[in-house]
Point group: C2
Chain length 204, copies 2
Amino acid sequence: MTSPVRLLLADDEHLIRGALAALLGLEDDLVVVAEAATGPEALAMARAHRPDVAVLDLQMPGADGVRVATSLRAELPGCQVLIVTGHGRPGHLKRALAAGVRGFVPKTVSAQRLAEIIRTVHAGNRYIDPELAADAISAGDSPLTAREAEVLELAADGAPVAEIAERAALSPGTVRNYLSSAVTKLGAENRHAAVRLARERGWV
Amino acid sequence: MTSPVRLLLADDEHLIRGALAALLGLEDDLVVVAEAATGPEALAMARAHRPDVAVLDLQMPGADGVRVATSLRAELPGCQVLIVTGHGRPGHLKRALAAGVRGFVPKTVSAQRLAEIIRTVHAGNRYIDPELAADAISAGDSPLTAREAEVLELAADGAPVAEIAERAALSPGTVRNYLSSAVTKLGAENRHAAVRLARERGWV
DNA sequence: GGCCGCCCCTGACATTTGTCATGGCGAGTG
DNA sequence: CACTCGCCATGACAAATGTCAGGGGCGGCC
């Protein structure tokens, strides 16, 4: 038999991470060599233990799964990355794939299934959850231009136009124009509803 | 030895639920008799299997953990409820306690620890995560009146004042006044920031 | 080179907001 | 009973926001 697949597990929820480590450890061709609770910690552990597959939660303190994946691809090209997420939004999937992630699954899969997917990813293949993939396709690409998205993001926390303008180094009038066109493109009632929509679709 | 503690596990994330079931099942004084992925399902399973302790995720499709807990207290008074949550917000803890929940812990605890807490709760005692308790105390009570909270909630999705007024059966002027006083009380810049703050503190 | 889309700005306008002053009504409290 | 507080409303004014009509510059593409 070939040597077991060495895993890195990163999730800020200890309950899940521990449980997962226990269950995956039961599979005799998988072995968990490191665990982490934050993005930076995951990177450090990866450097130290050089796992074959990194199973990363999408939302972690410090740096999210995609950011970690990006660094990982650069530093440990031999390490495949699998992202696990609670509530997957279409945009994340797109970002993840762009970052070189090989697998993307929701936490609604069973541990048994996850083990299979880990093997798939380790073999060099990709695995994207069909439902998430369908969502991503139906949501389509963002109709927003770079500036529109940027301004919309700055508007996310309810900041007034003047502040957005300052932070984006734009004139207030321009900001209102971008906001207006973004709102129109998204078919929203106002900028705040637009922010919500864009978030839901992962466009910000 | 006394008979084992019968558990109901409810969480929409199959990965976690399954892993948890496996780990808790290893404890020889605990036995998982039912699992559910949604609020209504959890209720149905509880009715069918009459567990001693129900371990509920706070956020589930259908009905959240607190709502399920409320129904459970009414229908199965002998069943203790323990709520597990990913990102605990102060207000939820307060609502949960009001609903008769006996335990409230974040998902950052270990499975070992969770098992102990289940025993504590089953023995009729309460267990509240110290950190969440501290947050709840420091956040304090909502300074908002019932109407202010209601109007603020209706304003959550970025609806214009006119729509809020109609939905709340109030005059637009009144709505603006409530919004204004809520914003002032929360020390926010505008209604949208106020909504965010109130959400963070669990006041809406 | 002309066309088009994105970028950035200006100015003007209507609408929507936030804020303030003010008043009446009912419930609970000293 | 007077007082306070929450509730609901009106009206008025200032500020922020949404919308429209422009115009100039830049880069890619037929």
